[in-house]
Every structure is written in C-alpha cells, then in structure tokens.
C-alpha cells in the first residue's frame, strides 16, 4: 500500500497493512512494523517502506467515559473527533487538541501533541494516567507517569511519550478530561501590526488558556510579522448567554460541519498571488479588537472544515516546518521571519505560539520559548537553501524541530536539538533489540540502532 504523510511527499510502499498489533508482529519480516493513525504527521513517521503497518480500529465504541472522575479510557485507534463527539455533549473536552480533530489517541501520545494551551496545560502526555503498550516481545504492558524513576517502566514511559511509535504499539490510553460548561469558546481576536507588538501582546495575554497568532508572512517592512492574535477559553454558560444567546438552546451541541473534500489532481492552488490575496483578506477581516463566541471547530479546527485540504498544494505536495527557539531568541525569530518573507515562498499558514514548560518525553518537542509553524510548497524553488539557513538559525540558539512535522532533515539536524536522544536510543534498543519497530522516519533519521 502506497503511503505518504499529510504533506503528500516521499511516498513508499508498505507490503502489508493489518489492524492488530500482535498479528503484525507475528507476520512481519525484517523491515518490522509501525502503527499508523490518521496519517496526519506531515512527513514519514507513519510509513514503513517494504514493511508492515498497523492501523488499529477506531469508532465511538472505543471510548469509555468515567463521568465521576472525568477520565476517558480510549482505544488507541479512536480519533479525537470521535472522542469529542462522545464527551462534549456530556460536558467534557480533551485536555489538549492540535489544529485538527483527525488524529488518533495513540498518535496524540506518540507525537506528544500540543495545542493552543501548551503554555498553561502542557502536552497531551501530561494528562495521561496510563497507557497499554504492545512491546516487541508481544507482551502488553501498562505504563504511566508515576513509575519509580530509573525503573524499566519509567524508562519506557519517557521513551514512548513523543517516541513516534518506535517503542511499541500503543493500544489504549487513559487520560484526564477538561470539564466544560458549553461547547463554545470565548475568543478575543486582535489585529496586530508588527512582530514586536505581537510578542508583547502574546505575553500580555498569557493568562488566557488558549493563545495562538496567525502571521502574514508576505508582509514586509514595518508590517513584518503583522498578525491576528486569538486568545480565549471555554465559554461559561453565563458568558455564552451574553455573547450568543441563541446558542443557549443547546449549549453543549457539537456538530462539526465538513464541506466535501477537495478532488484529486489539483494543481498547486497556493501560488504567491493567491496567498497574498488570501492573507490580505484574512488580516483585514479580523477585528482590531473584539470578543466573540466561537464554535469548537471554528476556534480549534478551522481547516478540518475542508476535507482533504492538503490537496490544494497539488501533486508535489508541501512541507510543514515547525521549530521552537528559547524565549530570549526573539532576534532569531525575527531573522527567520525575514528570511522566509524575503525568499518569496508563499506560506499561507504561519502560526506563532509561546510554549510553556517541557514535558517528560525524551523526544517530546515543546520546550519553553517561541514556536513558529509554516507551510511551504514542496516544489517551490530555493526551498532547500531556505531550510538550510533556517536550520542554522534555529540550531544556533539551541532550538529544535518537531518530528511529527519533519520530512527533510538529516540525522544530525535532529540530534542537535534533542540532548536525550542517546538515552532514548538505549531504552528503545533495550525493549526492542531485534528492531521489530521501524518506520521511514526512524530509518531516515537514524533513530533505530
């Protein structure tokens, strides 16, 4: 089966796709096994060229909600979309959601995903009570954050959270939920004219649970880094009654719309003029400063409304480049934005956020500082040179890149950002000496010793 990541690049063919991890282990050859969720990693994390891929089944039946404790026990193949449809009407939300609902719970842990609330709530892994991990020897092991430091269980835990599936197949996850009164969010939207002001405003609004800024990367000169900053939290019933009284007829309603998916065979629609036009409209349409109620989909998952939106980049696909640099490195951030703007590569999606504290996972991406995410068409000229320069800037200040997004890096670029990589490799090897768990990402970045 031909597989790619969300960027639709670097396709490879897996010889076998099954829906059970034990079956996979029993039948796989020397190219091993990797689990695949919804295929939303941008690069090659959920592909295994010439090998076996496991896709665990999903479905709402895989969600068991403990309404007393506000904890959900969920099969790893279930998506956050399916989880939300079960829990939102009952007054609960997932502790962390990325920009799409279509990631599996297993993937959420394996990539240790973060959301707009990272600076307050940390990564998904921070809310996990325990998980069931299928190991290379076929056994199923329950691990969690409370194991004694230095124990095998603890080592396995810190290697698995953010471990990109290379320590084993996560089969079930038990995690804490966030209580909500309504299914709307109260959102403050501000238009900000430039980068320095943006960084100030992000810091000034840090008390808000959710915060993220969309940056217009085609703006130059004094408008460099002009952005739309959105901050907010779940709306209480009282606030919803004030902001959107009509929603009070069904305050916990959750019925996300999906427009028909984009067709195959599209050329790259996101040319520079198209992106410039889009950016201008998007920036101008944002209020200078206004508070409103927004739906979950509208605030957290706008792109989910267009099915298969990644096809808009055409056949050559696209890359997503995401990094974090320390808080003090605002000059580097400015230099990166200047370089991208100067390169003329049209990035329609550029998002800036401030991260909070680092989590447990040895290969977990977020650490305190500024994280910038941008999309680039893979076929654009000058991309390699641009990324090389950006890598130098990022690594030069002690920054790093996100494995769930990466599709182009060499092993040294990643190793430079993850000081715990050697320890991770040792733990991985300890529990998987025969290399039963392999992925294209693992081979490309030399993660599997």
């Amino acid at each position: 089966m031909r597989l790619t990541g969300w960027g639709r690049t670097a396709p490879t063919v897996a010889t076998c796709v099954v829906d059970d991890a034990s079956d996979a282990l029993a039948t796989a050859g020397d190219r091993g096994v990797i689990a695949r969720g919804k295929g939303r990693a941008y690069g090659d994390a959920a592909q295994n060229s010439g090998g076996t891929v496991v896709q665990l089944p999903g479905g709402p039946v895989g969600v068991r909600l403990d309404r007393e404790r506000g904890v959900a026990r969920v099969h790893a193949g279930v998506s956050l979309d399916e989880v939300l449809r079960v829990i939102v009407p009952k007054g609960w939300f997932v502790p962390v959601t990325p920009g799409t609902r279509f990631v599996t719970v297993g993937g959420a842990v394996a990539a240790d995903i973060h959301g707009k609330n990272h600076h307050v709530d940390g990564t998904f892994g921070a809310h996990v009570e325990s998980l069931a991990l299928r190991l290379a020897d076929g056994s199923l092991r329950s691990i969690g954050p409370n194991a004694a430091p230095g124990s095998d269980d603890h080592d396995l835990w810190v290697a698995t959270v953010g471990g990109m599936g290379l320590t084993g197949v996560i089969e079930e996850v038990t995690f804490r939920l966030l209580p909500i009164e309504t299914s709307r969010c109260e959102v403050l939207t501000e238009r900000v004219g430039g980068l320095d002001r943006l960084l100030e405003r992000i810091i000034a609004t840090e008390a808000s649970r959710y915060s993220v800024a969309w940056i217009d990367l085609l703006a130059t000169g004094t408008s460099l880094g002009r952005a739309v900053l959105t901050t907010g939290d779940h709306a209480t019933r009282d606030r919803l009654a004030e902001l959107a009284p009509r929603a009070m007829s069904d305050p916990l309603a959750f019925a996300p719309p999906t427009l028909p998916g984009l067709p195959r065979g599209l050329p790259n629609l996101l040319s520079r003029p198209a992106v410039r036009a889009f950016n201008e409209v998007w920036y101008r349409k944002a209020p200078t400063h206004a508070v409103a109620a927004e739906s979950i989909t509208g605030f957290f998952h706008p792109l989910d409304m267009v099915g298969r939106w990644n096809r808009a980049y055409g056949a050559s696909g696209f890359l997503q480049y995401q990094f974090v640099v320390p808080d003090e490195a605002t000059d580097t951030l400015r230099a990166v934005i200047e370089r991208v703007t100067a390169s003329g590569n049209a990035s329609f999606l550029a998002v800036l956020k401030r991260f909070g504290a680092e989590g447990d996972g040895l290969l977990s991406f977020p650490k305190p500082g500024w994280t910038l995410t941008l999309d680039l068409p893979a076929g654009a000229s000058g991309i390699e040179e641009l990324l090389r320069r950006l890598d130098e800037l990022v690594l030069g200040v002690g920054g790093r890149h996100y494995l769930a997004k990466d599709a182009v890096a060499s092993p040294s670029t990643i190793a430079a950002g993850y000081p715990e990589l050697e320890r991770w490799r040792e733990i991985r090897h300890r529990f998987d000496p025969d290399r039963r768990w392999q992925s294209d990402l693992g081979r490309r970045l030399d993660l599997i010793s």
Binding site: A10, V13, S49, G50, I383, R388, A407, V408, S410, R443
Partner: protein, 251 residues
C-alpha cells in the same frame, strides 16, 4: 531513505568511470547524503573517488570491483552493497561502452551486447528486486537516443542501447506499484571522455546537463527523460520517417 525534497541518503553508481554517472552523483549530493557506493571494473581507492566526486568527508565512500559482464554475480553484488550501506535510494546504471571497433569484430560486438545489454538486464533485475523489497528507490538507466534509431556509424552500440532501453521501460512497468521506480534517460550526444575526439552530433550537451535533467525528472516523477528535452520531439518525428529518409539524414 529519500527525503521529501528528493534527496537520497545512499547512491550506488554502477560504472564509476562514467562522466555522466559522476555528474549525476554530484548533482544529487546534499547534506542528506550519507553513503556512495561506486562499482567499477578495476576497483579503486575510496579517497581518490571521494575527491573526484567532490564529496564531503562525512559521506561514506565505498568502492567495489564491479563487472557488468559477470551476470551470475550481480545479485550477490547488490546484496553485499545493501549489507554495507542499508537501503539503496538511488542506483545509477552508467557502465555502457561505446565499442566503435565492434563492427569489424563479431566477437567484440557480441561482448559489447553482453556488457551494455545483458549487463543492464542482469543488474536492472537485481536492483529492481532489491528496490521492490525495500518498498522504495529509484533506478536511473543511462540509455541513449542511439537506441531509438540506429546510425550506421555506431550501429552495434545503438543496438545494445535499443535492447537496454526496451528492457528499462519494461522494467519500470513491471515494478509499478512496488514503490521502486525506473527512470530511462535518453541523452543525445554528450561531450565526455567516452566521446572524446568524435564529431559532435546536433543538440550536443554536457554531463552536467544530463545530471540536471535527471534531478528534474526525479522530482517530477518522470519515467523517461530526454536530454536535451527537445530530442523528445526530434526523435518523435524521426522514428516515423521511412528508412530511406533516415539513412539520407544519417550520412
């Protein structure tokens, strides 16, 4: 593994003395490159090859004795290479000989076919097998316009290339769906050590032009690359021409 920008981590060059082959390696090299394996008849020194190819110190360079006519040994040769460097991302088949004296010697002519055609078939299948097993990889075959319609001045060579070309396009179809790809490259006259002293044909180009076209074909997922591109149309027309017309032009 090849990354999303079509940069390979490993390259195998079958026919290390080929100027075009070397130009392709140099073109595809990048910070992502970690190993290059060069197969050439008389073996050779890795340090010299590294210099000649202009590769960084952190790229592993392996030189292995390789005989295109040793058909029985090709599978094992590929297996040895995989053992040393892991997955093969790009393999370049560049070992053809020109054999201009072949027309005067039946045995030499047959040997030319053994190297250029049978060698291409045997290595092509051995490489194709491995790439299919890996689920990814690209075989770049240096064919020639000489195989599209043979000229009197080099008809044995042309015949050998015609065989290689037909095989190569067929192999691409055979490997379809396996993740393995084949790119058949049809250059016109290329100014190189092999063609030194010969009269240039129209639309002549340099090895670096071929390399650039190959890199472009890799990115665009082409199965056939003509160099220069206009030859696609030139030979499109010429292959339809009646024999006597072609022979007039071939003078």
């Amino acid at each position: 593994m090849m990354n999303a920008l079509h940069r390979p981590q490993t390259i195998v060059l079958l026919g290390g003395r080929s100027d075009i082959g070397r130009a392709i390696v140099a073109e595809l090299a990048s910070p992502q490159l970690r190993a290059v394996v060069v197969g050439q008849r008389d073996g050779g020194d890795a340090a010299t090859v590294r210099n000649e190819l202009g590769l960084d110190d952190d790229v592993e360079v392996v030189v292995e004795a390789f005989d295109a006519a040793d058909h029985d040994g090709h599978r094992a040769w590929i297996a040895r290479v995989v053992e040393q460097v892991g997955d093969l991302d790009v393999v370049v088949q560049a070992f053809g000989q020109l054999g201009l004296e072949a027309a005067g010697d039946p045995s030499a002519a047959a040997h030319l076919i053994e190297v250029n055609t049978a060698g291409a078939v045997s290595t092509g299948l051995a490489v194709g097998e491995r790439l299919a097993e890996q689920g990814h990889g690209v075989l770049i075959v240096l064919s020639s316009v000489a195989g599209v319609r043979t000229r009197a001045s080099n008809f044995v060579y042309g015949a050998s290339k015609a065989g290689q070309d037909a095989f190569s396009t067929g192999l691409a179809a055979h490997l379809g769906g396996s993740g393995a790809r084949v790119i058949t490259v049809r250059p016109g006259f290329v100014r190189s050590a092999m063609t030194e002293g010969m009269e240039e044909a129209p639309f002549a180009c340099d090895p670096s032009d071929v390399a650039a076209a190959v890199a472009d074909g890799l990115r665009r997922r082409r199965r056939i690359v003509w160099v220069p591109g206009v030859l696609r149309y030139v030979f499109g027309l010429l292959s339809l021409a009646p024999e006597f017309v072609w022979r007039r032009l071939d003078r």
